[in-house]
Amino acid sequence: MTAFLELDGLTRRFGGTAAVDAVSLAIGRGEVLALLGPSGSGKTTTLRLLAGFEIPDAGRVVVDGLDVTRAPPVARRFGMVFQHYALFPHLDVRGNVAFGLESLGVAAPELDRRVAAALELVDLGGFERRRIAQLSGGQQQRVALARALAPEPRVLLLDEPLSNLDPALRERTRRELHDLIRRIGITTVLVTHEQEEAFDLGDRVAVLRSGRLEQVGTPDDLYRAPANPFVAGFVGRASSIEAVVVALLEGGTRVRVEGVEWGVPADAGVQRGLIVGQRVRALLRPEAVWMARPEPGTLRAVVEARRFAGATSLFVVRTDLGTVLEVSGPSRAIAVGERVGLVPSRRAGGGIHLFPWEADG
């Protein structure tokens, strides 16, 4: 896949701090890339650098082989959907959707046809005369999408496209958005702080922290092989516990966790140059640990709370040394206050990740 949109060492400083710090990404034609990160991670600034609302202090933005780093937004032919939509309140739906086409000099009969087509695309056919204030949040979001798509941009940029919708609507809108951008096949970059949204919408996900790119990959890559504790913790649930490497074997690694030895299958964690005797941070997915009877050889703990979630629940357990972990298990089998023994689940594949203790997270 050759890159259609390329970010090359993009850096943007505000005052002394770098909001975006040497971020490089290559996005293929028609690919959907999600920028994921907590607030302040630089994901929105990255998007604004792409849109041309910010000029980078260093680095380049290349589209289709052409450097547009310093091109004004007008010249980029990128469509953008803003977080709060930024629909023009003094224009009706038609006026909003036609705005970009008018910039291109599209005139009357063609203009109406393309406005209607764009509205049809988002299932708002016949809404031309509605005023923006009369629309529901979901409809506004779709008008914003139609407005961005109408001039047939080269790249679609979405800034937290679902954050302004109520939760009930968010899931459905996400499906529609997912289907729409794939049907059109438009190269898309979207910003979100919700992992679920990023995983659902993005072909690939780029995780950002403090302006730096931590990891980029398919949702599967990120979940199964997080590059560091931060990514592991940000992408899905994970509890952290201290461990020491006892042996490095063919089939996996043996570690000692609070006095008990556990075998971690090779495919379970990312082993990066660990040595025997090294202090490590083990990150456990809830499903990677199994609650057995508190027999010798198990990591003994007390169940402190249960969060009911249907057939399985999330249990909060505290080990005898005081570490708090989240473990999933069958809802009915275990009660709060019960003593349990934790062992690595046999089907733990991808559920336990070992990192050098110094690695932050």
């Binding site: 505000f14 604004r48 849109a51 041309g52 609302f53 910010e54 000029i55 004004p72 937004p73 007008v74 980029r76 032919r77 990128f78 469509g79 953008m80 803003f82 977080q83 709060h84 930024a86 629909l87 023009f88 309140p89 003094h90 705005f99 970009g100 910039s103 291109l104 407005r147 961005a148 001039p151 940029l157």
Partner: protein, 556 residues
Amino acid sequence: MSGPTGGAGRRSQLLAWALLLALAWLIVYPLGLVLRDAVHSSGGWTLGYVRQFLRRPTEWEALWGSLWISVASVGLAGMIGIPLAVLVTRYDFPGRRMLAGVIALPAVLPPLVGVVAFLFLYGESGFVARAVQALLRLDEAPWRLEGAAAVLLVHAYSMYVYFYLFTRAALLSLDGSMLEAAASLGAGRWRSIRRVVFPALKPALAAGALLTFMTSLASFSAPYVFGGGFRVMTTQIVSTRLNGETALAMVETVSLTLLALLALVVFRGAERDLGGSKGTPPAPARLRSAWLRRGIATLAWGLGIVLLLPHLTLLVVSFVPLGTWTTEAVPPAWTLANYATLVRDPVRLRPLLNSLWLATAATVASVAISILAAALVVRHRVRGRRLLEGLLALPWAVPGTVFAIALATAFSVHAPWTGRVILVGTIWILPLAYLVRNLPLTSRATLAGFRGLDPSLDEAAASLGAGRWRTLRAVTVPLLRPSLVAGATLAFVTALGDFVTSIVLYTYDTRPISLELLGSLRQADVGVAAAYGVVLMAVSALVFALGTGRGGSGIA
């Protein structure tokens, strides 16, 4: 183009420097020349004039007069305005909404009109005085409306509206649930008022007080017409200058400016807004006793009518033929002749047309500059933006008389290499003066409008391929319209009725309504003077009604 947070583009920055330079030339430079002339004579630098100023008891008298009359005006205006605001927001009675609007009317009327209207009603030959005279069978008028008391009365009368408007707005934005919260926490009625209501009102009260203080410090028409032997600095400056003691007038001007700036410093901080709360205002109390309700209604309406009576008198007088109305309770004859004179006599019509075009030109220019400045300050975040904002607000802090003197000083000399050209005596000086005085009004509204605008709307337009010009025309200006209209309305009405600056700078060809009004009054042409006053009122009210009708937010 660079983004809003990406630092200013070169062109914007250049434009900003140019604008700063122009404003400095128009606003700061003339004031600086006044300051220089106060301590400079043909023989070089001197403190002679300052010493002369300090030695004259009349100067101290005038300065003290300006100060105490302003403080007293704040007190008296507050005593009228605050209870009125409480009355119309907290109690429900018949006609409450209408009254609430009616008593805000004087806000849009030129001060001179109020002064003249007051004269017609309460002056020694006014309606009330004559009625009392007839009733008590006195030989002469029972009182003379003159001196400090008269000035104070006129001030309180025309400035209560500031307290009224600010207090009412604050009461309406009060969150009703805050009062409920206070009550649920066991606070009694007085404790609620002291601990919850008063702190919420404080910024509004401070703003009202500041506006009243500054307005009465700068007040010219009232002391000019009613002052008699009572000295205040504004009128003193003009008369000193007429006496030919130019340098002394400069020292006086500086002293008045210092007093104004001192007031600003004192009030600073108190005015700061606490930020609007979101909740719904407490509902006006339904008075249970019908007797009490009637009492409150009578009180409120009575006050309202008393406050509007002068303007009604003005209206009546404008329809009375010259010399026919003497002692009767109702005018014996009615006529439209006074208005006919205004339209038919070209000499009388000229001031009307003058004021209209002067005010229009000054307002248009001032709005255009404000849009440019607001875009540079808010959107492009140019360097020097604080300075730009400060310069735009400065003319508000400086009394009108001071500005008039400053402009008259700066632009009466032909010395292009020092940035001075002769404008005094040309038709350009008045529009320029109005423009400078309008800038704080329009720029304040425009800046607030720009700040309230979601910057991503501009970005959305840019991402949709709209250039700077199309974005301004198709997105920014339409969205700013309410603020632009509000600012422009206020500016137009102020310029239309201006007297303070005009009396210093007018020429025969540009004489505005206000001067002609006073001239007619001097010639005892009372009907025509009243007709001028009514026209001024009507145009102001019409413009204001149009302005607020267009989605303007009323008083900016």
